[in-house]
Symmetry: C3
Subunit: 345 residues, 3 copies
């Protein structure tokens, strides 16, 4: 990649520029890691200090930039609308590897009753089961298992070793990352005679709406009866467990290794940290934030609050409690001393 | 599915019925979600209130039903022995997808020394290694890896992308869910010179007795020497880690994302919640219950108790401690006040 | 296996022996589990008591053995340098299954532009992508996915169902365990209009230096820009999450189910327990030890310390805090009593 800065400035419709435009940009980097052949961007005011130290050749900055200090002279500054968006659009255009073209690699197994758009990619060793439907513009990578009657929406990517068990419905523009398993049986048993577990048949399914991402090795269990449901724009990181009959509202993002037990629901626009545990049959109101490693065993009914701890409390209360807990080693002998004074008097 | 209620009542040997029997049942649902074309069931007295609100067309109830209020008139009530069992037997019969018939799909790799029952299913892209044995009535799904000398019991299901490493023994009627990995190397090293980790060869194996389930993407490591052992009826949920040389007793169930470190053992009939951590070389007595997210670093020697917290205590003690912890923010200034009074006096 | 003890003594260059050498050794076992046909070893003085109780036929002991009691007469004692190393070398030689010989099994997919050493093993259903390089002495097991331009070092093992996404670099003598996923996209989004998540393209890569192990179903995400980096000798257990742009220093070992969020770094020679969570943009100093289930949300700057708890403190402080927390149920009524006395007086 060799891009003249003047050409970049033009292509991103820079509102104005400061500094030389005859530089050549060879790569993209964060402000902290950039060198003089890199383009970078500034978006988050919390990291303003990195602006004054960056060695980037050029930096995309917001048109309404307001700073505590004047900008240094080293980099060329390009003022644009939405620098983060502009930056990642350039990264995508110049650095992302292209996805494979349409067509089928050898060694795929395609059931004769499956329906496959000619404008799709089917990798080697992909398995497309009975009655499955692969829409136009979908990519099915090697070793993907597309079970019977599974529907894959247009523009959706199913990466290597992903497993979509029978009857799963995947909407358009989803990404199923490697090793993700959607539609395996839920963990459902009832106590039979002699305290033996009897299986509850898991005959429901999983539906993913548009623009959902399921991270690497994440598991989304099928419903016992009915549907496990991930609404539009839900983003799941890696190694997450989503139990049977769980429902997650639009544009909620969940970080790695979190688990949500059966029949719970999470509202729209929530942000859930990593390694969080959410018990079964619990509801989380929309726009809730949950700190990493928290444990939620009761429903959260008020929208828009932040929770932390296990068992979780609202964040301010939990932080206060934690602060006092850390004082206990110093407080404890003082309490004993008070007791001594009082019982002696 | 269209079943006349009269036929259902007869097939389940209803002891008596209340309400019309000429209805047509089209599906199965929980009491909360059922509509008038659904059959449901009632088993857990804790959810009695849902009985009075259900819109189900018919409900299976226990013969010895004892309620606080009279049953409403909407649904038809079918009195049976073991309504939960009857309900799920019907679900299994009418809604579960049949497993594939016996035979081999194309593109399987079968080592010439492997022994495979003619009454088994081998999916496309299954790999059956040297000397492996597949018993009558076993299902080996696509992309299953059956390593050298692995034995698969009769009636056992190995779902897509499950990996059974060499020498693993799987008993009859087990279910290995997608992506589960049984028999990978344990995490064993010793400190060599210059503080470098040297590998401990992992030459033991894994044995699963009958009726064991291993959840999606769960890992059960082979023993260093000897055997990692899951007894009859053990049920493991998804994304669980079972370390080398662990032993788990009969009919113990473990929820998702729990980890048990090397050489620990768990007794029979235990119930372990999700995201629990159990340290190495620890023993958990039989019939122990452990709350989700707990941490067990010492052996539990008394059977039948419930534990909670990290580090865990018996549940009552832990709940008491948690309750007082939550009072700390309010208690702390009062302690400071006491101190002030006493030091001033 | 039938080995005369005299032959073993000679082959391990025993410095001296006590007890009969005409015994036949058939297997290897730990001191606690060994019987008279087993060879065992003693290395860790904490387990000295097992020495006096073992029923092993022979035991490797250090040349500078210093004990509280005389050794019992049952076993034959072989004095050697580094008994642990000698023992596991014998286990590896006599009990480990040999890896497959060089060559290709049928049904592999090998892109015509891939470079594959003739002295390597390519299993059935392996996928070797465009421009990938497989070095001499590498083993690629069935169902391994080797993406475009991936480099596999000499002596490296890629076990079944491991996924190496494009551009990943794996050094020599690494082990990628079954189901591990290296180089999947990081979890990176920015808030677009209407609070919708927009993808940040993940165009970086993953580099593993020599002797790295990646456990079963563990995920190591590719960098957003730049490199996710595991230095020489890093050992990762199963089901671990390593976020984008994470860097881990040489010879650090991490136990199962731990997660490290994006852009954090861990120094050399650290020991991190299972189910630990490390937040994003945090640095852990070298030689840090972290107890299982801890949560690290701030950088640890002093090397060589031990941390515990969530949020973590230095281990002594945390243990003290935990001890007092457990006293709270008994302390609380005493505080109320003090208050009562003071307010009444």
């Amino acid at each position: 990649m060799n891009l003249r800065l003047a050409d970049i400035a033009q292509s991103v419709q820079a509102l104005r520029t400061e500094g030389p435009l005859d530089r050549v940009i060879q790569n993209f980097a964060s402000l902290a890691e950039a060198t003089e052949s890199d383009l970078s961007f500034f978006a988050d005011p919390r990291y303003e200090s990195t602006l004054y130290q960056t060695r980037a050749g050029a930096v995309l900055v917001p048109e309404d930039l307001s700073l505590r200090k004047p900008l240094p002279e080293g980099p060329t500054w390009l003022y644009v609308k939405q620098p983060e968006h502009v930056f990642y659009t350039l990264v995508q255009r110049y650095r992302a590897q292209p996805l494979p073209g349409w067509g089928q690699e050898p060694h795929a197994f395609i059931h004769p009753t499956a329906t496959i758009s000619e404008k799709s990619y089917i990798g080697a060793f992909a398995y497309i089961g009975e009655g499955a439907q692969i829409s136009e513009g979908a990519w099915i990578f090697p070793f993907a298992y597309i079970g019977a009657r599974v529907q894959i929406g247009s523009g959706t990517i199913v990466y290597p070793h992903a497993v979509l068990m029978p009857d799963t419905v995947i909407g358009p523009n989803c990404i199923i990352h490697p090793g993700a398993i959607v539609g395996a049986d839920g963990f459902g048993f009832y106590k039979g005679e002699h305290r033996i577990y009897e299986r509850i048949p898991q005959v429901g399914r999983v539906i993913l709406e548009a623009e959902v991402e399921v991270g690497a090795n994440t598991c989304v269990d099928r419903a016992t009866l009915g549907t496990t449901y991930l609404a539009e724009g839900v983003k799941l990181d890696n190694l997450i467990q989503i139990g049977h009959n769980v429902r997650i509202g639009p544009h909620t993002a969940i970080a790695a290794q979190t688990g949500i037990a059966g029949s719970s629901s999470v509202g729209a626009y929530c942000r859930i940290g990593g390694q969080v545990g959410i018990a079964d049959h619990v509801h989380i109101a929309e726009r809730t934030s949950i700190t990493a490693q928290s444990g939620i065993s009761k429903s959260i009914t008020t929208p828009g609050r932040s929770w932390r701890g296990a068992p979780a409390q609202e964040v301010r209360q939990q932080l206060l409690m934690e602060a006092i807990m850390r004082k206990l080693p110093e407080l404890y002998p003082r309490i004993l001393q008070l007791e001594k004074i009082l019982t002696q008097s």
